[in-house]
Symmetry: C2
Subunit: 228 residues, 2 copies
């Protein structure tokens, strides 16, 4: 066991959305382990976080090494790399670890556009991940609809709901993560299969960003839910 | 041509959501033609509208007769009756009429639950409708995510965005309809194929209503879009 309690591993943390989450969690005081296929790229991303947040506890590692260091492992790699990344973690992931899928099966994975999606045999990217992790590893779906640029902009709240789907005991720690980020609200997204819908919403939002010329990205909110 | 300019036909207008739209449009001063498979039920629904809004221009008719009377025809029938209803209008619909699909392929159509959907060969209920209407009839997708109880409650704004999908010139009149209802905001939902996503969101919202105990129904808003 080399996990740091409270640490959050972000695989593919060199991409915009992963780096944005790294910044937000680091600012909330949580240890962050950024993973990438290449250690030098992960180290550069950690360097970028430290440039903005000099007191952050953040390091860059190869993906499997990052996954080994944290009880919660967020998968922030493009959909076309999701399966390969999870397979590369088989010797590393331990029972009770939580893997968070934020992948969206955008049609860019097959050379088409980001306004459309491809079908996933398992139903969703999150369910694909659930079929690949070792026994006892808990898979939760979250963060798909959160715009990278809004995460990166530390001076403003994000203004977006996060639908968190999975088994109830698995959802709770991920819902707690959302609360670390100003302007994010965790919503109980029900069972993991609901990722089929949540992932699709991202493609719709990418279209809204294009049609309404919102380079920083729109968010989604559900109205009429009771206050916590 | 027996269409009343500015009239709105609502087929299946005896159901909660259709009746809610009828109330809102009637209150905005628009002529409303409520359709049902049985004329007596449509007449009862019109009677219910008049009980709340004595000055309303509202009548109840059989579905095809209602569809004949208005330039915009809203399909508010359950998914399992959508295809049959559209087929029953083949002799009635005229080029340039707009048919609005608000159907959601909930799994209740095949005896399963409302938290899940069934696949539609054409991609969405709206695209199914588009494949059945006579040439020149314009199909638009809208209103799927608007809660019936919020529509019915005339004392409060609805607090929900409406994603309107279809060809640009077809979307515009339907987006204008949304603006008649306090608290509804029309969003450019892009091409009709996006109904594949919008329809799914309703199943997700039905789940939210159950998990958060919101009998009046939640709404959805997209944040960060420019003000009109």
């Amino acid at each position: 066991m080399t996990q740091t309690p409270d640490a959050i591993a972000i695989l593919g943390g060199t991409g915009d959305q992963g780096l944005g989450l790294a910044l937000r969690f680091a600012r909330a005081g949580r240890p962050v382990r950024i993973g990438s296929r290449k250690r030098t790229r992960a180290e550069q991303a950690a360097h970028d976080v430290l440039a903005k947040l000099p007191d952050a506890d953040v390091v860059g590692l190869e993906n499997p090494e990052a996954a080994r260091r944290a009880p919660i492992v967020i998968l922030s790699v493009p959909f076309e790399h999701t399966a390969a990344t999870v397979k590369s973690l088989k010797q590393v992931l331990e029972p009770e670890q939580i893997v968070v899928s934020m992948a969206v099966p955008l049609a860019t994975a097959v050379g088409d556009g980001a306004l459309r999606t491809v079908g996933v045999w398992q139903g969703s990217a999150a369910e694909l991940v659930a079929g690949l992790v070792p026994d006892g590893v808990r898979v939760v779906s979250a963060f798909q609809n959160v715009a990278a640029h809004r995460l990166m902009d530390l001076d403003h709240p994000v203004d977006c709901d996060v639908l968190v789907s999975g088994r109830p005991t698995d959802r709770a720690p991920v819902m707690a993560l959302c609360e670390l980020v100003p302007g994010l609200r965790a919503i109980n997204g029900g069972p993991l299969g609901n990722a089929r819908i949540v992932e699709q919403i991202t493609a719709l939002m990418i279209g809204l960003n294009a049609r309404y010329d919102v380079p920083e990205g729109c968010g989604v909110r559900f109205t009429g839910l009771p206050e916590r």
